[in-house]
Symmetry: D2
Subunit: 304 residues, 4 copies
Amino acid sequence: MDYNKIFTDINAKLSSYKDDGAVASYIPELQRVLPNKFGVHLCSVEGMNYHFGDSEEKFSIQSIVKVLSLTMAFEIEEDELWKRVGVEPSGNPFNSLVQLEYDEGIPRNPFINAGAIVIADVLVSKLKNPREDFINFVRHLSGNNQIDYCDRIAQSEKSKGHRNAALCNLMKSFGNIENNIHEVIDFYFDLCSIEMTCSELARTFLFLANYGKDPVNGNQIISSSKSKRINAVMQLCGLYDEAGEFSFKVGLPGKSGVGGGIAVVHPGKYSMVVWSPRLNKKGNSNKGMRFLEEFTSYTASSIF
Amino acid sequence: MDYNKIFTDINAKLSSYKDDGAVASYIPELQRVLPNKFGVHLCSVEGMNYHFGDSEEKFSIQSIVKVLSLTMAFEIEEDELWKRVGVEPSGNPFNSLVQLEYDEGIPRNPFINAGAIVIADVLVSKLKNPREDFINFVRHLSGNNQIDYCDRIAQSEKSKGHRNAALCNLMKSFGNIENNIHEVIDFYFDLCSIEMTCSELARTFLFLANYGKDPVNGNQIISSSKSKRINAVMQLCGLYDEAGEFSFKVGLPGKSGVGGGIAVVHPGKYSMVVWSPRLNKKGNSNKGMRFLEEFTSYTASSIF
Amino acid sequence: MDYNKIFTDINAKLSSYKDDGAVASYIPELQRVLPNKFGVHLCSVEGMNYHFGDSEEKFSIQSIVKVLSLTMAFEIEEDELWKRVGVEPSGNPFNSLVQLEYDEGIPRNPFINAGAIVIADVLVSKLKNPREDFINFVRHLSGNNQIDYCDRIAQSEKSKGHRNAALCNLMKSFGNIENNIHEVIDFYFDLCSIEMTCSELARTFLFLANYGKDPVNGNQIISSSKSKRINAVMQLCGLYDEAGEFSFKVGLPGKSGVGGGIAVVHPGKYSMVVWSPRLNKKGNSNKGMRFLEEFTSYTASSIF
Amino acid sequence: MDYNKIFTDINAKLSSYKDDGAVASYIPELQRVLPNKFGVHLCSVEGMNYHFGDSEEKFSIQSIVKVLSLTMAFEIEEDELWKRVGVEPSGNPFNSLVQLEYDEGIPRNPFINAGAIVIADVLVSKLKNPREDFINFVRHLSGNNQIDYCDRIAQSEKSKGHRNAALCNLMKSFGNIENNIHEVIDFYFDLCSIEMTCSELARTFLFLANYGKDPVNGNQIISSSKSKRINAVMQLCGLYDEAGEFSFKVGLPGKSGVGGGIAVVHPGKYSMVVWSPRLNKKGNSNKGMRFLEEFTSYTASSIF
């Protein structure tokens, strides 16, 4: 399919679309981004690349990194991992403490903040040099040694991270955090600070569109079975309490971040990243969701 | 693929499986079923049929009917429907009032009891003879004029339906039920009382495996887009608060019922029904889930 | 003390008080009342009476009756009563289902709707003619044979009672309602429909200001110990989720109703009723609370 | 009244009472206490003293201190205080995060942990030397310069304080904590570590039994109005989610601590402290509650 043309057509169709979303403002560093940026990049499993707009511009991937940290932890801690974190949608905002208290410190899934903090704790326990080892893993996935943390963003988040500290302390009180709270939280914020372009991020997610195997270089990153399971968790839990809406309208496994990015995969076909910084009330990219809905309708390529 | 052989192999593998589930006991009529019954039937979109065990025995489809009533209501009330019921997973048990109160009478999705009662209310409003019109629709889908309600089961449920009456009254207090409460609840229990065999039910679901079109007779039941959306709702909400677990392990859109049945579809490939009356603590068929997990692993046919 | 003068002084002080509350509007019958009505009546245990304003005008006592039905049920079912209803403040609105579901059908206290419905169920079980027997009990307490139900109000409520029907059905599903739901709910609405004047209602509550004994005629209505316990429940639970505020500012056991009445007692001293139909957001009389706050400050007569 | 004789009689009556409660075990320091200790001390406003058992033995007053820190903060921050903390019973366990999240960081009352942490934050903001200034205030109330913090207990709590850190971080994220979290939490644990005997603690609470004025030396500690309001908050919120039960059975304003102490006051009559380290499931002294119930029944001295 000529995805470049499709991108152009959809963009034209959406030109009259009035985006009333707002750029994430809880830290100054994120607020600085230009709100009307828009980029999209698609990597097919056959090795083709398609893109549109600001697809070569870096943005803060934020929560999208949670798919990558889950992938790494799942490899390391296959058996024990799912005793410490569930795979059910939360039905609640991404940073809710209510459910966590009710469930006695076991987060519903690895994509809400509490769950991603547990995953960070696993990596801190198991990796020799968590910060370096993780970025090396991401560089390996992306085939790009320039991918890096953004210390400015990480610092900015650390100064505002009281709610995540609340989550972490609560889990520690239930015995579900092994390491020092500050170390875990700092590492968690480092992860979220990684910056990539649409094209870099789509490339990084390509193994999940190809049953765990990087189709470019043939590396089997994870088993087919694990790849399917990570995609299933994305489908059910990847867009916070808008996962149902996203499945209903877009119909692909995906993961969003407050930087305005959304990464999706169509198993057997492609990985794709859209980026548009204005967010809706649930914290997901407004135009990003709208674009993806048009895209899967146009191409009839939802997985359902 | 030789699904008959695969069924036999998986059944052999599970022969040592100790099923500690219990048959639904809240009404005497359901409790009477033999707990060790097991049947499976698969219809491929190419028109092939595969089966194993008690696949020709009738069972109470219970909540599985909610997919069929949603299908009918979605056709009738396309635009207004989603103002009265959401598409998000609930994260709570199927008959919870908590969320319904918090969400001011709008059920999270059409597969929890409250949502299915709203769907029943829509049908009562829009159909001339709700009871006859609905069973005729099911007969049309299944190509079988013998499908019918089971009055014995319906009566038994009506005498115990206080919690569903509570849900219905609560929604009425928020203005989300249009008709008389007793009429809506009675119709709801009628729907749940339908009895089918595995083969009849798999045949009935076949249009959802074929983008809304019945591949046997070529009837376009609903549009491709609606078929995809119904499957998406099944994926996210079809197994109550075990939807995540089911997606993680089985990886197909599916819907369960307390009669022990589970219907799944693989878009573009097949529809399939398993039946085993022993339920786990979340109200889903124990062996049914286990069998499906083995089946999609064996055939590598999850959608992810 | 010259309470008549105090009433006049406080009323003068409050003359500039802007009451932005609204008359209860969920049933037309209640909405018909003139919003600026204001009456107060105090009965001292020595037999003196003091009053001000519209104290001889009938109003719908609504939930204030719950103290009287509790008194009757406590006499009949001393031992078993507290297994079916608690004595803890709810911390939630008066008609919440959330807590009731969490607590498996046992209402937190007899003054939230669910608890009062359980009390009504007890009376339906134990009284030969619940409707007549109860009004006779109230006539006995008030020394007034003219006190009666208002059928017009009761009918109006019955047509809107879906939420109370939801509560009742939910409790029935947990086994905490013995009788037919319609019979219990109808009786409950009858109770709430009783009409009295401030002076009649203050007279009726006088036994609770005198350790269970009517000081006018010397009848021991209930034991001193039970009188103290009923007052304790009023103190903790009498003003829904504003009980703390009321204790903090007024400092007396009291019970409010959506008709705009508030009955309070000062054990050993007096019973007192204020009536002003404009309600605050929590459903309690705005000016009534304000007047009582001034009164107990002025007379330094909170119990604390 | 001859309270000494009454104490002896009640103790005799309770001699056959089987106390199945358990000493608080979440920190080793508290667990070390002898479980069968029992002491009681009553100070009348006329200056008489009555006691029984281990009334001269020091114990950790724990949460009882929250009444004293509230008293001090109420004097300092009269107007602003109640914007940051409510006066409603919580209906939930003392350390619940659920309500705090729902109420956007405003604790229900000053006696649940979150509320007491806000009070600690107020004192840290307003006092020059919080630690010294507060203990001097307590020494002033008790007329005893030997009262002190127990560093051993405070240290032990600080090492286990993850849940309180979670509460504090959550409130900070809502803007309801002004100071550094560690400083506030440390001060909070210092407060809870104070040790007193029954006689010292009863003496300390005497001003609340006498409308804010210390009857021994005539010092007006706080106004009568404030004293009444603090007592009202104790009545409604002093025993966590057992406040209703305590009001129902004992009928006095009181505050408990996990060290096994309970302080009560009867306005106009007496202050009284019982101490028995075995706790019931809600964290209140088992025998302490039982003894107080017998005492107010025997002396007919509940305030209701």
